[in-house]
Each structure stands twice: as structure tokens, then as C-alpha cells.
Homo-oligomer: 201 residues x 2
């Protein structure tokens, strides 16, 4: 009687252990999927904000200029627009592409419910390409923005930000938000790789 009850207890414990394992695995999987979805949404939001903030950047200022030497200086409205600099155009386009892809991948991950295994590799590859795209556009915008902010005496490029302060602040904001988005895509690739690595060992 004692023995049988013991062995029964052992069996039940074994089942309970198995159940626990499954529960933990399912919980791990769903928490991993949850963080993946959350990061994807964050990537979507940051790249959207970056594209909009820089894509609507425009400032008009009255600059006094001496047109005719014998007359007093005239105040002429001068406008700074985001698409005057090709690095900013690249930045906006890159962020718009990354934003559209983030939305698409969010839908794909939601629709697949972690079932289709062929999708994983495609999404990792695209995430990786977004890392390259966003970091290159962030570097380009930052480099040009810094010249606008500090100027460069060696090549006689004058600073622009002393005149167009609001314009430059908006550029700086867009770059910071976009770098956050780039970091999120980097994290997505890293998490997916870590996940494959864990499954393998």
C-alpha cells in the first residue's frame, strides 16, 4: 500500500513537473513574443516621429541685408527647409521605409502567431537591413547637422543654427528619436539571434 501510494505520488509529481516545464516554456515563449511585438511597435513609433519631425521642418526668418550700399539694410525673409540638404532627404526616406516595414512586420508577427518558421529568417534579415539603413541615415544627418551647428572654418562653411535655431532643434530631436529607433532594430536582431542560439543548445 505504502509503496504503491509512493510510486503514484512520484508519477503525479513527475506529471506536475512536466506541466510546470511546459507552463514555463509557454510563458517564456509568450513573454519573448510580447517583448518582440512591443519593440516592433516602439520601432514603428520612433521612426514615424523622426520622419514627421524632420519632414515638416521649416523656418522662415527675416534677415537684414545690405542690398544697395547707399540705402539702409532691408529685412528679407529667408526660409530654411529640410529638403535643401540631401542628407536630410535620405534621413526622412530611410525613416519612412523603416516605419512602413516595422508596421508590416508587426502585422506579420501577429498573424503568424509564432508558427511559420520560414518567416523568422526573413524578418531577421529585414531587421538587419533596417539597422544598416537607419544607422547610415542617422550618421549622415548628424554629420551635416553638426556642420550646421558648429560651422567649419577650414572649408569656410558657416554655421546656420545661430540664425535658424528652431529649425536646428527640430533636426536634433529627429536624430535622437531616430537613433533610438535604430537601437530598437539592433535589439530585435540581437534578441532573435539569442533566441535561436538558446533553442539550439
Amino acid at each position: 500500500m505504502d509503496l504503491s501510494s509512493n510510486s503514484n505520488g512520484g508519477l503525479e509529481q513527475g506529471r506536475a513537473n512536466n506541466n510546470n516545464k511546459e507552463v514555463v516554456e509557454v510563458a517564456n515563449k509568450s513573454s519573448l513574443r510580447g517583448s518582440d511585438l512591443m519593440l516592433r511597435f516602439l520601432a514603428f513609433a520612433t521612426t514615424l516621429v523622426a520622419a514627421i519631425v524632420l519632414g515638416t521642418d521649416k523656418q522662415t526668418k527675416l534677415v537684414s541685408m545690405q542690398v544697395v550700399p547707399t540705402l539702409p539694410p532691408l529685412s528679407i525673409p529667408v526660409t530654411a527647409k529640410w529638403h535643401y540638404l540631401s542628407a536630410f532627404v535620405y534621413f526622412v526616406v530611410a525613416n519612412a521605409i523603416a516605419c512602413a516595414y516595422a508596421a508590416l512586420s508587426l502585422l506579420l508577427v501577429l498573424a503568424s502567431r509564432g508558427k511559420k518558421k520560414g518567416l523568422t529568417m526573413l524578418i531577421i534579415t529585414m531587421d538587419l537591413l533596417m539597422v544598416a539603413l537607419l544607422f547610415s541615415s542617422g550618421g549622415a544627418a548628424l554629420a551635416v547637422g553638426l556642420i550646421g551647428y558648429q560651422g567649419n572654418s577650414h572649408v569656410q562653411w558657416n554655421k546656420v543654427c545661430n540664425v535658424f535655431g528652431k529649425f536646428c532643434h527640430q533636426v536634433a530631436g529627429a536624430i535622437v528619436v531616430s537613433l533610438l529607433g535604430s537601437a530598437v532594430f539592433l535589439l530585435l536582431v540581437l534578441l532573435a539571434t539569442l533566441n535561436l542560439h538558446k533553442k539550439h543548445h
Copy 2:
């Protein structure tokens, strides 16, 4: 007799199949490791060349300037140096870091002989960080280089490349070689992930 010989033949065939499988697996593994080592060497070489080509870039030219209005113009030597522009400094430093890491990772992969599994994840992570570093520095150098090449009338930044042609060609060469290096690091991450993915399924 016939039956036993048949079953023996089947066994041998099975063994042969197993052997074939192992041979194929070992061949796959070593070809994968070979391509990984080759790509790492390529990454080392390209980032080294890019860092050296831009890091030694310097051009002195005699530019005629009207110093005193009543005298004929003087020829004054003007020098363009790579470290005058912060984007180029970032580019050289980033390529030097990537080059040092490529050499280190090459040695690590050679020394580990594909045995230490904990190393894989570290190397993938570092490769990924190099992708981000190299693409951002490539974007920065390209953006500044384009302004030097085309100039920008909106912000009155004059082109520099009409005067310093050799300097600009060296910049362009360094950027192309570095972008090749960035693509190699991207490929390294992609291949490692693909390898983990294949092992898993």
C-alpha cells in the same frame, strides 16, 4: 543465404549512408567555417585600407589670392587635411576599431576551432555592433563628402573638390572600400544567424 546477404547489404548501405551524412556535415561545417574566416579577413583588409586611405589624405595646393588690391594676386599654399572635418575623424576611428576587432575575432575563431559555443553569441553581437558603427560612419563621411563635391547653395557652403581633386578622390575611394567592409560584416551576421536557424530546424 540470400536473405542474410540482403540484410547485410542493407546494414552496410545504412552505415555507408551514415558515413556519407557525417562526411557531408563535416564538409558543410568546414566550408562554413572557411567562408567565415575568409569574410573576416576581407573585413579586416577593407577596413584597414579605408582607415589608411582616409587617414593619410592630405593635399596642398597653390591658390592665387588677391591680398592687397594694388598688387598682383599672390599664390598661397593651402592644405586640405582629413582631420579638418569631424565626420572624417569619426570615419577613420570607426574603421580602425572595426579593423582591430576583425583581426581579434579572426584569431578567436581560429583558436576556438568551432568548439566553444559561448563564443558564437559574443561574436555575433560584436559583428552586429560593427555593422552599426561602420554604416553610421560611412553615412557621415558620404554626406560630408557630397557637400564638398556638390556644395550647397541654400546654406552657402561652397564645393571644395574643384580645388582639391586628389583629396576628394581619396575620400571617395575610402568610402567605397569601407562600405564594402560594412557589407561584409552584415553578411557575417546573416550567415551566423542562418547557421543557427538551420541547426535549429
